[in-house]
């Protein structure tokens, strides 16, 4: 099919580069510089989709970001993207697109039956129709609605494209490159301000590309090109096309989406598909222009009805005719510009002007060109189903209430202009309270809230001369404040045609006996009658009307519908528009892809990965890793076909019988120095710290101010004023902040410094009855006997030339040591331990065995210190000093904390000594009790005891102190298990703690 609607000449497209593309399976041709929309229109294709609710045929309405209809499913480089606006998607060789929201095809859509059922689908139909019977929602209504409604289809494949984030700072950020954007950017740039100029379209210039004006003896387009090329040369200016500033957030931060590669058949190597810019600007200039308002009449959604400015843009930018027999329906002078462009290209348009007898330069020009104009005329209804074929027109009375005789005239498109709506989204998002400007029947920004200034059409200024004047001045003044430079720019001579006033008329009354749908919101199928129903039913607030009718809630966010909706509500309510107010403008201004929002933070980049210095050794020795916060820790070391259960049992057993080694680098480590360090620890921990001698470690528990246990760990006195604190892996960062809080804000008089040393030290726990023999081999020059290095002792030593710290501490409950060396030597230490441990049958053990060992010893960890337990609950009350005050102590006398049947940690063993107990299960008295069955406690941690070869769990149990020996039931509805159990002491193995001291 040839491009029968393409003009011989003209437009800004590259006619030397022909591109082929497919739409709904059929091949067409267009040119480089086309959008998918302009190329389809050039080929006479106007039917692109079906509407959301009634499945009525949908064509093109706009030529850019305001497009409510023409969304397609795009196929590019083996990937698919839903709801791409055909008016924004640039054509590339091999592009493929399909219609959305139609089945089986756009030409024959079964859902169109809704169009005839529309009396059943009024405003709020979801709320009314699908409520009863309740069970029908999931089984019948929802699946049906899902099939019928919705737009494109999201790909379920992994997105191979790359998206980037960028952070930028600038003096002036300018949104939009029309006349006001260019002028203000130019003036600011000349004052050496750092400027970012963003344009959402591929071409710079905005309205200058389509309007018939002259600036300094150049056409608008030539002037725009000259300014842009000058700006591009300047080192202080960043000029970005295909870049939409879509959100204005707090403290002058704006976010921009740059479509780097969407216009290309394939993303270039090392390029992202899209880039999200977070821009912090000192001043923001909003030059986002305005969007033409539709006029409302019967069947105004028929393909072929479109904005007159869009028709002009297709003509002037793409050399494409939207029709060969056009009707222009306008209430202002803008429609004339479109008609004149048609006429200049040999097409004879007819203008219907709702105004009585307007006079202006541009009307005179249209008359002189011989264009047929009918004043006081309106379109009553468009006729034709898949494309406009004629229009019912009529004279309208001066008060716009009465129609005359209906005439029918042939036409193939209706270009409508209901005047202009400033694009105030960004200003409104910044917090600016907008105000209604009577002369233009629209809202404009009021007083600036942040450092934003709105210029030109976005500010309701529709003459070029005034726009340029105010924009040069704004660029100059705002940049002068920042750079102190003051270059004056003289205003070039501007030639433009003067306009007359628009008609305060926007909705054509229904002719008698006709019940045409008159649409306000074209994407969500909201018509005049829907708003009327909503108001009849008592909805008053515009926010409620919006949600009830879904007016302005579609993906186009009501860019073309909001103001007409407000007009209607104010007419019915007999109020003025500002009294009705408008709905809130929220970011994003236009849909943003999820990929751009996520950026590079996907897969393994979604969070940082921390590895210990011994990581590669673990990898080489079949470690299976587990996430511990952002750390990767060996969970177990797999031998042969071992399961997790088998491996962890083997590793734990080896610790109990021989010796094991565990990578404990991930433990939080904090260096504490200063003359008041002991006093500080004494306030932080619940137990006494003032008398800890140098060379000794002590176990400590710290509370939050509300009395709940925050963390535990050992702290060692390295020298007089120097301590080494350890924290749990999970709480390391919180504990450091906690200490800093008290030192900086509460007790600034304490002379203490804290710093994290987690990453400075690599740690290995050597545990088991043979650990002392192994230690002796590692440190042959040290006395590591029970007297030389007693339990909780500390010495500094030398590991074959490497500085080492040795702590005699134990988490496993066995005779155990922890050796720390500087991180760089971690692997060396580890390999030495494995090498010299061979004769003692040393084996590495992972977190699973580590858990087994601590659980059967009754040592608490994160699953017991879960932010809900106090010292008593975890049997740590013996560490509470009665003689001193500490953080959280005052909370401990609260009634619930001191009650005699307070929960306490206990051990749990299944009566059959076989059934494993799921963690998180509840403990109950009677398994068969009626619901709700009273919960007495919960299982916090479970293991297979390697000491006794049966399952063992820890639990936090109400009145646990008096429950030892009781028989209860463990219930896990999730696992569908009921297990009879006996409550025992939490110290299941070595209750007297003899091994650690041996």
């Amino acid at each position: 099919m040839s491009q029968t609607y393409r003009l011989e000449n003209g437009g800004l497209i590259n006619r030397y580069k022909k591109l082929s593309f497919k739409f709904n399976g059929k091949t067409y041709y267009g040119y480089e510089g086309d959008t998918l929309a302009s190329a389809l229109i050039a080929n006479g294709v106007h039917l692109v989709g079906r509407s959301f609710k009634y499945h009525r045929p949908r064509g093109f309405f706009g030529a850019g970001v305001d497009e409510p209809y023409a969304m397609v499913q795009l196929y590019r480089n083996d990937e698919t993207e839903p709801n791409v606006k055909a008016t924004e998607q640039e054509l590339f060789e091999g592009l493929e697109a399909k219609s959305v929201n139609c089945w089986p095809s756009v030409n024959f859509d079964i859902g169109a039956i809704n169009n005839f059922l529309k009396i059943f689908l009024p405003a709020g139909f979801y709320y009314k129709t699908f409520m009863w019977p309740k069970s029908f929602w999931y089984r019948v209504y929802e699946p049906f609605i899902r099939k019928a409604a919705g737009l494109g289809v999201v790909s379920t494949k992994h997105d191979k494209e790359r998206y980037e984030h960028k952070y930028e700072y600038c003096d002036l950020l300018i949104a939009g490159s029309g006349p006001s954007g260019l002028a203000s950017a130019y003036a600011a740039a000349k004052n050496s301000a750092r400027v970012i100029l963003a344009e959402d379209k591929p071409r710079f210039g905005g309205s200058l590309l389509t309007s018939d004006v002259n600036i300094g003896n150049q056409s608008g387009e030539d002037w725009a090109n000259r300014i842009i090329s000058e700006l591009k040369q300047m080192p202080n200016v960043v000029v970005k096309n295909r870049s939409q500033i879509f959100g204005y957030y707090d403290h002058n931060m704006l976010v921009m989406s740059e479509k780097v590669s969407d216009h290309l058949p394939k993303t270039k190597k090392y390029h992202p598909k899209q880039r999200l810019w977070y821009i912090r600007a000192k001043e923001v200039l909003i030059s986002s222009g305005s969007i033409e308002r539709p006029l409302v009449f019967g069947n105004n959604d028929t393909p072929g009805v479109m904005l007159s400015s869009a028709a002009k843009e297709y003509l002037k930018v793409y050399g494409v005719l939207v029709g060969k027999n056009p009707l222009v329906f306008t209430n202002n002078d803008s429609g004339y510009e479109t008609a004149i462009e048609f006429k200049k290209n040999g097409i004879n348009p007819i203008i219907l002007d709702s105004r009585v007898n307007p006079k202006s330069e541009i009307i005179d020009e249209a008359v002189n060109l011989g264009i047929k104009i009918k004043f006081s005329y309106v379109v009553v209804a468009a006729q034709g189903y898949k494309k406009v074929s004629s229009a019912d027109i009529s004279k309208i009375s001066d008060d716009k209430k009465k129609l005359g005789t209906i005439e029918n005239i042939k036409c193939d498109c209706i270009c409508v202009s209901g005047f202009w709506t400033p694009t105030i989204h960004l200003a409104s998002q910044s917090g600016n309270k907008t105000k209604f400007k009577e002369e233009i029947d629209a809202f404009v920004p009021g007083t600036s809230k942040q450092n934003e200034t709105t210029l030109g059409a976005a500010n309701g200024v529709f003459t070029l001369e005034e726009t340029l004047k105010s924009s040069f001045m704004a660029g100059q003044d705002l940049s002068k404040k920042i750079t102190n430079n003051d270059n004056k720019i003289s205003l070039p001579n501007v030639v433009e045609k003067k306009s007359s006033r628009h008609d305060k008329f926007w909705c054509v009354p229904l002719p008698e006996g006709k019940n045409y749908k008159r649409f306000l919101d074209f994407q969500n199928d909201v018509s005049v009658s829907d708003i009327e129903i909503a108001l009849k039913e008592g909805y008053r607030s515009i926010e409620h009307v919006k949600r009830y009718t879904t007016l302005g809630m579609a993906t186009d966010q009501g860019k073309t519908s909001n103001l007409n909706g407000l007009q209607l509500v104010s007419d019915i309510e007999n109020k003025v528009v500002p009294a009705v107010g408008h709905t809130t403008f929220r970011p994003p201004y236009t849909p943003i892809s999820i990929g751009a929002i996520v950026g590079r933070e996907v897969g393994k980049h979604s969070k940082p990965t921390r590895k210990t210095p011994m990581h590669s050794w673990h990898e080489n020795n079949n470690a299976v890793f587990v996430d511990a916060g952002v750390w990767l820790r060996p969970r177990y070391y797999k031998q042969g076909k071992e399961t997790l259960f088998e491996a962890s049992k083997r590793e734990a057993k080896n610790v109990r019988t021989n010796v094991g080694v565990c990578d404990v680098t991930t433990l939080g480590k904090i260096d504490i120095k200063g003359p008041d360090a002991a006093e500080f620890l004494n306030r932080v921990y619940t137990n006494a710290w003032l008398k800890l001698p140098v060379g000794k470690a002590r176990y400590g528990v710290m509370l939050r101010e509300d009395g709940i246990v925050m963390d535990d760990g050992t702290t060692t006195r390295i020298s007089e004023n120097h301590y080494h604190m350890t924290t749990t892996t999970a709480q390391a960062a919180n504990v450091l902040s906690h200490l800093e809080y008290y030192l900086q804000l509460v007790w600034p008089n304490l002379n203490v410094n804290v710093v994290s040393t987690t990453e400075q030290w690599a740690g290995a726990a050597i545990a088991g009855p043979k650990s002392r023999k192994l230690l002796k081999k590692l440190f042959p020059n040290n006395d590591v006997s029970n007297e030389g290095l007693p339990f909780m002792g500390y010495i500094e030593s030398d590991l074959f030339g490497v500085k080492a710290r040795i702590f005699r501490i134990s988490f496993s409950g066995e005779l155990a040591y922890e050796v720390n060396v500087e991180s760089d030597n971690g692997n060396f230490m580890w390999e030495k331990i494995i090498e010299l441990g061979q004769e003692f049958e040393v084996q590495p053990y992972g977190t699973e065995a580590l858990s087994t060992l601590r659980i059967e010893m009754g040592h608490v960890a994160g699953s017991e210190l879960d932010g809900r337990t106090i010292s008593y609950d975890t049997s740590l009350e013996g560490l509470i000093s009665k003689k001193k005050d500490f953080i959280g102590k005052r909370s401990l006398n609260r009634e619930a904390f001191t009650s005699s049947d307070r929960q306490k940690i206990v051990g749990v063993v299944p009566l059959d000594k076989k059934t494993s107990i799921p963690e998180g299960s509840h403990l109950v008295k009677d398994a068969k009790a009626t619901l709700p069955n009273k919960k007495l406690g919960h299982i916090s941690a479970s293991c297979w005891s390697v000491e006794y070869d049966n399952p063992f769990s820890l639990a936090i149990l109400k009145d646990g102190k008096n429950m030892i020996g009781e028989k209860l039931f463990v219930m896990s509805p999730l696992k569908n298990k009921v297990i009879p159990v006996e409550i025992v002491s939490s110290h299941y193995v070595d209750p007297k703690g003899e091994r650690v001291r041996s």
């Binding site: 707090d250 403290h251 912090r280 101010e705 902040s737 800093e740 900086q744 005050d885 005052r890 909370s891």
Partner: protein, 89 residues
């Protein structure tokens, strides 16, 4: 995202900071006899002010200093920031 002036480092993005609540709360002195009500006021009871609020932030991914920020809780306007030890008139 807020833009907060750390009195030690200068203007930084909010994502470098963590929030620390009402800065006017004073911890009761150690070893001092106080009523349950005074203690509850320190631990739990906070005014949820609309408007000007003096609050604590920590420059976590920066100098790690706790600072005081005078911020409007409704508009996010930041009027001033102070070092932890600075007296605020």
């Amino acid at each position: 995202m807020l833009h907060i002036k750390c009195p030690h480092c200068g203007m930084r993005s909010q994502n470098e900071f963590s929030y620390g609540g009402d800065a006017s709360v004073k911890r009761p002195e150690l070893n001092k006899e106080i009523t349950d009500e005074e203690w509850d006021n320190f631990v739990y009871n906070r005014k949820s002010l609309r408007g000007k609020h003096l609050e604590l932030w920590q420059h976590l991914s920066g100098c790690r200093q706790w600072i005081k920020v005078e911020r409007d809780t409704a508009t996010h306007e930041i009027f001033n920031t102070y070092k932890a030890e600075e007296e605020i008139s």
